[in-house]
Amino acid sequence: MNTIAALEQAEKLLTPWTKEAVRPESNRLDVTIAGLDLYACAAALKQEPWGYLSAFTGLDLGLEVGELEPLYPFCEGAAITTLRVRLPRQGGSVPTLYPLFPVASFFERELSEMFGIEVTGTPDPSRLFIPDDWPVNVYPLLKDFDPKVVQPRQADSPRSFQPQDGQTFYVPIGPQHPALKEPGHFEFTVDGEVIVGARMRLGYVHRGIEKATESQNWVQNLYLLERVCGICSHTHATAYVLGVERLAGVETPPRAQAIRELIAGLERIHSHLLWLGVSAHEAGFDTLFMYSWRDRETVMDILENLSGNRVNYSANIIGGVKFDIYPEHAKTIRQGLDFLEERIRHYLDIVTTDILFLQRTRGIGRISREEAAHLGLLGPTARASGVVRDVRIEAPYGPYSHYPVSIVTSEAGDLEARFVVRLKELFVTINTIRVIMDNLPESDLSVRVPRRIPAGETISRVEAPRGEVFYFIKSDGTDRPERIKVRTPSLCNWTAVLSKAVGSQLADAPLLIAGMDPCFSCNDRMITVKRLDGK
């Protein structure tokens, strides 16, 4: 159904509990409800089914208003229905949504530790991103948070996990571990080689970016947000500028939009090839790692040619892009793409026919479609289980309406499917880039945007190589944002790893983790820990 119809349907569903319903943007519906009704509303939406729970956001409405406002956006195609709850600054609480949406557990922990909102009934109230030695009752995202209150660490902090009793044997993976290029801490309880319990603790890369955005102006924040993640930096920048441009009411020139999509495509190529190599390395197939990264250099060269940097190419500015694509570039890009297409075909062949590699991937970590939808998975991990979830298709943003992409899914849902889906996506991406280059519109590269962005709120959703990136941006009319919330796909996909780890072999653990293409720096703006074995 189309967006307007979807929003009307949602509005109708929520009528029993609605205190106030507003349409701030053409694709958004904001419904203010009472905290106690939260579960009922979420259940009604899930029952229909209407959309999936995409993120939580918390807002501190300021000391004068004296209230906090958690937001619960649900996305159905391009339509977004946000449930809004008003709570007092201290002592507020909301019920958990975990029984309906397992992924809510992560969001709820973030909400509690950042704002001090209590979530009743949440399965794991422990900290997600905030470090162990952070003082109690200090909530970073409140407006009156004073960084000086939190002194740097002193001596040894308490271990994040208590050692288990002598009966069980646990193998820690991380924070420093050859399998993980980034720090994260997993503890697998093993019985022989079989994993019987899995816990994880993130937060090693939690830098406090969301808070930092409140003290920098809109332009400075662009550079900060690009560095949430080095691999999908363009995606974050795109999500941000799309939101800000919408708030400012400017229309980005068509050529700039096309270039944005082109760079996003190139980023997808580099990211998936990177992932292929790293996963192969995890599996012990170093040769594939070496060859795929050698070929990846082709796309790095293209990006460097265009932007001047191999990573963090910084293509976006608020209002457009910084650089153009000249005919000489176009030729190099096409040659590079031709070469890459052939190589990717070769890798697809390997991944689907190499006997030993298949022994490590076929049938392992299988997640069914229902499970994937229930767990709230995103990106290629979800698509490999047959869930049709891709923001570029469900809610085309910017140029994607002009240069659409087709979706790639698989029914198998195992590790092999995740390899296949990502590689096939690259074929689609390469073709899209060719189409864009054949049809680049002539126009300016950017448009002027005022220094002060008009007040308002907006939600920006963009498809990163790993899945949906969700940005909530609120402006109070000044030259600094009031709140920026970033929810990255890896946060939602952790459930996939942990649920599949139990019962698998220890040797499969690195591949299971790698299979969802985790990006700790993306999700560590927040922390998550989850226990699986129910003990």
Binding site: P140, R153, G208, A212, L224, S521
Partner: protein
Amino acid sequence: MNAQWMPIFEKLKTWARVNSPWAIHFNSGSCNGCDIEILATLTPRYDLERFGVKLQGSPRHADILICTGPVTRQARERLLRTYEQMPEPRFVVAVGSCAISSGAFQNCYNVIGSIDEVIPVDAYIPGCPPRPEAIIDGLVKLLQHVSSSSKMEIAK
């Protein structure tokens, strides 16, 4: 030990250390940009193995600690422990602007600071992220410095 042999032994040891620098990589809060460029140095186009660098898994097997990222509160202790586990002689290389000065994250509440506020750093490789060639260049400069510096004479 015969005093005549000492300088020769020292020279031999220094030569071996400079030519066999095994490295371990630690990310203390980086956005990954630097990490992927470090990984890229192992791949065919740049091939760090030419210089004898092998990426190790255990800190006990490594001579060089390659660090990226600003130090977040949570990562700080792990960084220290990793460093302490390395046997002498050991060197630390800070890769990227964040490792050198917190980079873009200077205003972030969970960032303690640069790597050299936690452990002593021997080489700084600037960039956001530095290219693999720059990383190799920095490592080579460190090795040249090691082979010619007097630090080695005091080593055990």
